[in-house]
């Protein structure tokens, strides 16, 4: 049987890919990986399409037994990683054969790890995607997080691929305080001068009341002009920063709703979403404004980094 047996499930492990961006008009959350940069990196390392589904591992990883010959790679933060009791590294691919046991321990830097397996999972797609959407109980493996004794089917007869490694200088690092770049939001006129000042200059902390849907922040109040906190519900995106009446911001993440009713002060740029995805409760952040051109230039830079890894992989075949 081509599969992985789940011996321990870890704190919260689910199957994710790049989500369902084409169903937002019917109210379906996009979902998918919180850190899409790491997901793509892990996939390229094992010779998959960059958009293939991975295991998204949160804070403490699973113990997995392999049935079949595969190549695997973990990417994202840093974590304790053992293959049959031998220490191995993130951001590098390894071969496994039937009976091999992979132990992913604590995540020691960042919050999430993406485990890619060559060929991907042998599971049905729901609405064009493997992503697990927990609230709807759909996608991934039976629409839920992994549990001990699950057996996740893998594609069989996957051709072997050469082993690969991310260049040292391209391995992402996740400190406890980050600078997040943003473009201004459509409702910025609804905030007071003091509110905007605080947003631009103060430090905000990630609250434990944060999940795949949204991150709640705590910090100095971002005040609205009189009665301007609520808007007629309108579109929100990954990284949209909404501020409800109480003045504490919420950043919309992968499983966000497609529309929201609070004033949108800003949006974290796409190239910085991976930093956000890797933050832990208690970590802190500051916001810095950039122009739309700059946001696009930085996204292109990130894409080039993935292309570089892809070419590096292709050239050693």
């Amino acid at each position: 049987m081509s599969s992985i047996d789940v011996i321990q499930a870890g704190l919260f492990t689910s199957i994710q890919d790049l989500g369902r961006p084409n169903y937002q008009h019917i109210g379906m959350p996009v979902g998918g990986a919180m850190d899409t940069f790491a997901l793509q990196m892990a996939n390229i390392l094992v010779g998959n399409e960059a958009s293939e589904a991975c295991l998204e591992i949160t804070m403490r990883g699973p113990v997995l037994k392999f049935n079949g010959s595969y190549t695997l790679a973990a990417a994202g933060g840093a974590c304790e990683l053992k293959l049959n009791e031998t220490d191995i590294s993130c951001h590098q691919s390894y071969k496994v054969v039937s009976g091999d046991v992979l132990k992913i321990g604590l995540v020691t830097e960042g919050l999430r790890i993406y485990l890619a397996i060559s060929g991907g999972f042998n599971l049905p797609k729901v609405m064009g995607s493997h992503s697990t959407y927990l609230r709807g109980g759909l996608g991934g493996f039976n629409g839920r997080a992994l549990k001990p004794d699950d057996s996740i089917p893998l594609k069989s007869n996957v051709p072997p691929v050469s082993l690969r490694k991310v260049r040292e200088q391209n391995i992402p690092h996740y400190p406890k305080h980050v600078k997040l770049r943003f473009v201004a939001g459509p409702d910025r006129e609804r905030f007071t001068k003091d509110g905007i000042y605080n947003f631009l200059n103060e430090i905000y902390t990630l609250s434990p009341q944060s999940d795949r849907m949204g991150y709640r922040l705590t910090g100095p109040v971002i005040s609205h002009k009189n009665q301007q906190a609520d808007i007629i519900s309108s579109a929100i995106a990954f990284g949209t920063i909404q501020v409800p009446g109480e003045g504490q911001p919420i950043i919309m993440m992968a499983d966000r709703q497609t529309v929201g009713g609070y004033a949108r002060i800003a949006h974290v740029i796409s190239a910085d979403l991976h930093k956000l995805a890797q933050m832990k409760p208690g970590d802190t952040m500051r916001f810095v404004e950039v122009k739309l051109e700059e946001a696009h230039r930085l996204l292109k830079e990130q894409r080039n980094l993935l292309n570089d890894l892809y070419e590096l992989s292709a050239s050693d075949k």
């Binding site: 019917i26 709807g136 109980g137 459509p186 309108s234 929100i236 709703q257 529309v259 739309l292």
Partner: protein, 262 residues
């Protein structure tokens, strides 16, 4: 072809002064085009028209177009479509003067059973509004509702047109789990829960229809701009339709109707 009177517009504001479209940055992968700042069927028609025009641009790199109450949101891939080019294209969109006297709309019939255990709050809502449950059901089924947009959860429809006589505050203590298909009232809104979720709406009935079925294509029965009409059914009819759906023999009733504005 059945022609409706304008009854449905009784419960909507009539607003005809529109603003010039305003293009706003909504993150680095979408723009919002704001067309007004009220919730009205007239503005909704304008939103729909604008979205159709965006589709007609047929521009490589536009990934999704979404209609909300007052805006259109256009998602794009900035790595394949330069934002300046997209803005130029959006600026070229010219909305026609909206002087249509009538339009054709799709109306989905939603059978609802307003009896028994699946209507736990119907007595409360009737008492609150000082009417009989029969009158409540009559008023709830009387006029069709416009679907302004879908959101909140997959397949959830934001409806307009609730008779003000049925307005009822939310429950003080929300329920932990409300069934998929539950029909409820909250404030001046009425709607249907497409998936099991916690919630504070007053539940007055239940439809056997699956408003959201991820394995069906399309997964929803309606889209923004369609209308729905509730139809009261008995518990027996409910069971029958439920069985037909299970066996794959039920076809939702969707009619095209001519809607006249006066």
């Amino acid at each position: 072809m059945q022609v409706w009177r304008t009854k449905i517009l009784l419960f909507h504001p009539l607003i005809n002064d529109f603003m010039k479209p305003i293009i706003q940055v909504n993150g680095d992968q979408s723009f919002i085009i704001k067309l007004g700042d009220v919730i009205s069927p007239q503005l909704h028609r304008r939103v729909k028209q604008y979205a159709q025009q965006v589709h007609k641009l047929d521009l490589e790199g536009i990934t999704q177009v979404i209609c909300t109450y007052t805006d259109v949101c256009v998602y794009y891939n900035p790595l394949s479509l330069a934002y300046a080019k997209l803005i130029d294209a959006l600026k070229s969109i010219d909305l026609e003067e909206d002087d249509l006297k009538s339009e054709r709309v799709n109306v989905l019939s939603i059978p609802v059973c307003y009896q028994g255990a699946i209507a736990p709050d119907i007595e409360y809502v009737a008492n609150y509004n000082q009417m009989s449950t029969a009158e409540l059901v009559h008023l709830h089924c009387e006029a069709p509702y416009l679907i302004y947009m879908l959101g909140f959860s997959p397949g959830f429809v934001y409806l307009g047109g609730l008779n003000p006589r049925l307005e009822t505050p939310r429950k003080e203590v929300p329920r932990q789990a409300i069934n998929a298909g539950a029909v409820g009232i909250a404030g001046n809104q009425t709607g249907i829960y497409p998936i099991v979720s916690p919630g504070g709406w007053q539940i007055i009935g239940q439809t056997p229809l699956q408003m959201f079925a991820p394995d069906r294509e399309p997964p929803v029965l309606v889209q923004s701009g369609d209308y729905i009409q509730f139809e009261a059914i008995s518990e027996q009819e409910y069971k029958l339709i439920e069985q037909e759906i299970e066996e794959g023999n039920y076809n939702p009733v969707i009619q095209t109707k001519e809607l006249t504005y006066e």
